[in-house]
């Protein structure tokens, strides 16, 4: 059961119950819809990007605790950062939750900051897509795609 505690860490549960930046955005200049047909998780990510800086980021939708907390924490950490940083963080986050960080950079997880909380997902292969859905959607929005599916 300790793996469960690693998965459902306090910070994840807290964000899933009280998601940050959980709202629409009227002046978004980029947005994309992400969908996980397997479990029905469904989010829209809104971005206001100016000169490569993420001025504002928000999301709406519904899904499991992992996907919602991931979207919430992602929005917090990316706000006022650059899009390049966002893509870089996505790469690191993806490595951490798929358990691929080991053997590569020993500090890959460490450099994730608060997102380290999601490292426990690696022990739950069926939940990796929940954790990465918001990030895939963000990536699609930054590329100019409008819909992304993780199945």
């Amino acid at each position: 059961m300790s793996e469960l505690q690693d998965l459902y860490q306090e910070v994840i549960l807290e964000h899933s119950k009280h998601p940050r930046n959980f709202r629409g955005m009227e002046n978004a200049n980029l947005q994309a819809e992400g969908y996980n047909p397997l479990c029905g998780d469904h989010y829209t990510i809104f971005l206001e990007v100016e000169d490569g800086i993420i001025r504002d980021i928000s999301f709406q939708g519904a899904g499991c605790a992992i996907s919602k907390a991931s979207a919430s924490m992602m929005s917090q950490i990316l706000k006022n950062g650059t899009t390049a940083e966002a893509e870089e963080l996505f790469e690191k986050f993806h490595q951490a939750v798929t358990g691929k960080e080991s053997g590569k950079e020993p500090d890959a997880v460490g450099s994730l900051g608060k997102l380290e909380a999601f490292a426990g997902v690696a022990a739950f292969p069926t939940r990796i897509k929940c954790a990465t859905l918001a990030w895939h959607t963000l990536h699609a929005a930054l590329k100019g795609d409008q819909v992304v599916s993780t199945e």
């Binding site: 059961m1 029905g40 605790a65």
Partner: protein
Amino acid sequence: MSTTLTAFRTSTSSGFDIERVRADFPILEQRVHDLPLVYLDNAATTQKPRAVIDAISNYYLSYNANIHRGVHQLSQSATDAYEAARKSVQTFLNAEDAKEIIFVRGATEAINLVAQSYGRQHVNSGDEIIVTAMEHHSNIVPWQMLCEEKGAHLRVAPINDAGELLLDEFEAMLNAKTKLVAVVHTSNVLGTVNPVRRIVEMAHTKGIPVLLDGAQAVPHGGVDVRALDCDFYAFSGHKIYGPTGIGILYGKRALLEAMPPYQGGGDMIRSVTFEKTIYNQLPYKFEAGTPDIAGVVGLGAAIEYVNGIGLSDIVAHEEDLLAYGTEALGAIPGLTLIGTAKEKVSVLSFVLEGIHPHDIGTILDRQGIAIRTGHHCAQPLMQRFGIPATARASLAVYNTAQEIDALVAGIHKVKEVFA
């Protein structure tokens, strides 16, 4: 709830013994995450008794050969076993003739066969096909594909909040343009048993044929296709303790005779020249290519296994479990059962306030409890209830009241994690 347990039927006068049934299923000995397996995902697929596993293994060990064309002994043995299984299915469904039993890959392929063969022959532009709001995708998409090709319309008969078909509204939808009614016999999400006899009567009054999707119905009750008078009946072997990859299409002989083949190839022909091919007779006309012989043998063994226990005992046991489970789950604060039809089988779909089904599934899994979470291949039904997904515990002959207790304890644990 524990008082109900003492009154629980563990064996019946007719000899139903749950411990002996459980001993027939080797996989139930498995441990998951170092805990005893509590398998409650039977609507997805059932586990297999040793009799089925042995029948498949024995086929490959002692008489593996191709059927219907060999002069040698093994081919004869394989053909005999294959056709004996067809007889078992015929008897099981009370079909008039073994020729009405077509082996297919599963209920999905059975429905596709009818859509592509019967449907393409009879459905034209402006025609209508009627389904219900509780269909599995496998009884929606083949008809959508047909409708798109033909310019026909798919119409959906509504259901009430308990998950029961609104029969009057269904009847009012039947009209001269209706070319087929395709209805699920028992819902995989809600457990609802549809009044299929009445549905067939209503449709037949207007000369409309009816296909019943029986994937979830056959494991939980006797199906008599002649009493139902349905025109087509589809089910999958793996939901009735048989192997995956094998299923049945039953069709009334006159309809099947008049239908064009679904696929071309070996075994479905009588003679072939480059100018003209003469098709084989029923049922072979619809069984192109070397079939899943081992699967057929396994399905035959599964049906014999079910007959050996007795469907009435299976139904009685599952009804007890359903009543016990409905009460036990219903007593959990914040839990809502989805699917409360008066006539239902042992499926318990539920949602927990503030907790997504996917999280429920993960936390139960770590307690050794296997349930299904998600939309259950019935997205329109999820939309009808305004929910993205449900958690679903579905029960089979080998499940016990203790396993329901484990589920209840598991759900309390889920609530603790999210407290």
